[in-house]
């Protein structure tokens, strides 16, 4: 047996699915789904049946939530009624996927935000999305993050923990960004009170991590940044202007208003956070996106991942910086 690596992986995925589902899917055709920066994603097809496999790149550094934890979180989300691709089976690093990974059902639709916002055949989806996003968030936030083994949780207040995390991440990049610093300082001095309850937070809830089809939200994907925290973090992040892709008059992901989102959130059992708490997390979301842009450009500059696209993100830091400083200060007399 002298197979090329792709074939070995296809054989491994076939065996994993056959065992978990109790029936052999047959020979699989594999292709790569581009997008994820720190995970590899494959589409496996046999006739008209399709699956998706997510695994760690071979020799990868540690990720935020290991794939084993991500698998458990997706199972918990499915049980809580969040639309997710049905998780099928997890395989540890020494198993049939060559690195840690898991298989799930394929869900049809797009996760390219500008297409969701502009394509004619998704007009009806856009009308129902604000309410669907509110409902999905309420269901995610009904989950106790600390009860899922391996989900990261901080010992301190979530707002304080976010300030610490992004200051440290910015220090790791080493770029002087005084506008981000002044925003972080203001946020540190004016934190919201600790949340009434901590819950599972998706951590990167925006159109780019949602699959949208003709009838709207089909699945919430990419749970890599999930953790236990303040539910307002997901809502504030969803309102960051960069995720509106030009539809600036619609604060929620370029598709709707905060009132629409929160009405559905409450209707699905969520406890809507105060406007000031959401605004604090929206501002923190802009800090986070500015620092991530700086880190991506840094990855180009160090030669870790040479790419003009990553390099160009260094010149987009000023966009979330502008939005951050437009949001501040607030809540004072």
């Amino acid at each position: 047996m002298n197979q090329p690596p792709e074939d070995a992986l296809a054989v491994g995925i076939r065996a994993l699915i056959a065992q978990a589902e109790g029936s052999d899917p047959g020979a699989l055709a594999l292709s790569t789904i581009p997008g994820g920066a720190s995970r590899e994603t494959f589409l496996a097809e046999a006739g008209d049946r399709r699956w998706v496999v997510r695994r760690d790149p071979l020799g990868a550094r540690d990720s935020f939530a290991p794939l084993e934890v991500e698998f458990r979180v997706v199972q918990a989300a499915a049980a809580a009624g969040v639309p997710v691709p049905r998780p099928i089976a997890f395989e540890p690093a020494d198993g049939r996927l060559e690195s840690a990974g898991f298989a799930m059902d394929h869900v049809a639709g797009t996760s390219v935000a500008p297409r969701v916002l502009r394509r004619d055949d998704l007009a009806a989806a856009r009308r129902v999305l604000p309410a669907q996003l509110g409902e999905a968030l309420a269901r995610i936030h009904s989950i106790e993050g600390r009860e899922i083994e391996g989900v990261s949780a901080s010992d301190s207040d979530p707002a304080f923990a976010a300030c610490e995390l992004w200051e440290a991440t910015l220090d790791g990049v080493g770029e002087p960004l005084p506008a981000v610093e002044v925003g972080l300082r203001w946020l540190r001095l004016h934190p919201p009170p600790p949340p009434a309850r901590e819950c599972l937070v998706h951590g990167d809830f925006r159109l780019g991590n949602l699959i949208v089809g003709a009838s709207g939200l089909a699945a919430v994907i990419d749970w890599e940044l999930c953790h236990s925290g303040d539910p307002a973090e997901d809502i504030g992040w969803l309102c960051v202007r960069s995720w509106r892709f030009g539809n600036d008059e619609k604060p929620v992901a370029g598709v709707g208003s905060l009132a629409q989102l929160l009405e559905a959130y409450e209707g699905a059992g969520g406890d809507p956070p105060s406007p000031e708490r959401i605004r604090w997390w929206e501002a923190m979301g802009n800090v986070k996106w500015a620092v991530i842009c700086a880190r991506q450009a840094h990855d180009h500059l160090t030669g870790a991942r040479p790419s003009a696209e990553l390099a160009s993100l260094g010149r987009r830091i000023c966009e979330p910086e502008w939005d951050l400083l437009q949001l501040l200060p607030f809540g004072e007399g």
Binding site: P178, E181, W186, L189, E309, S312
Partner: protein, 116 residues
């Protein structure tokens, strides 16, 4: 002296051709990368046309806020960042926010005019 086209004029030409023609030759799923390159040409052209003035004004601003006397704008930005982090500007945070809005506006004028 170099002959014309000037550097910004050359970049304008590159941006226009990448955007209007090269993009069409590239498979649909990779066109985004051509747009990134066209946009970078446009950013560099604007930066060259703006000259030293934006950096000079940033140096003045950073020095005034932090009380440092660096000659180099990156050094001044580093000093100001450290002062803000240490809390030295806590009593003047609104003033610092207002000043740094101007700094960010100068970056946006080069990187993405119209974003404001």
């Amino acid at each position: 002296m170099q002959d014309r086209p000037t550097a910004p004029e050359l970049l304008d030409a590159m941006a226009a051709e990448l955007y209007a023609e090269v993009r069409e030759w590239v498979p649909r799923e990779r066109r985004f990368r051509v747009l990134v390159l066209a946009n970078l040409c446009a950013v560099i052209a604007r930066e060259l046309r703006a000259g030293d003035e934006p950096s000079r004004r940033d140096l003045e601003l950073f020095s005034a806020l932090s009380g440092s006397h660096a000659d180099d704008v990156r050094e001044a930005a580093t000093a100001l960042s450290a002062s803000i982090r240490q809390g030295d500007l806590d009593a003047r945070l609104s003033e610092a926010i207002a000043g740094l809005r101007e700094h960010v506006a100068r970056k946006l004028d080069v990187a993405r005019p119209g974003y404001r």
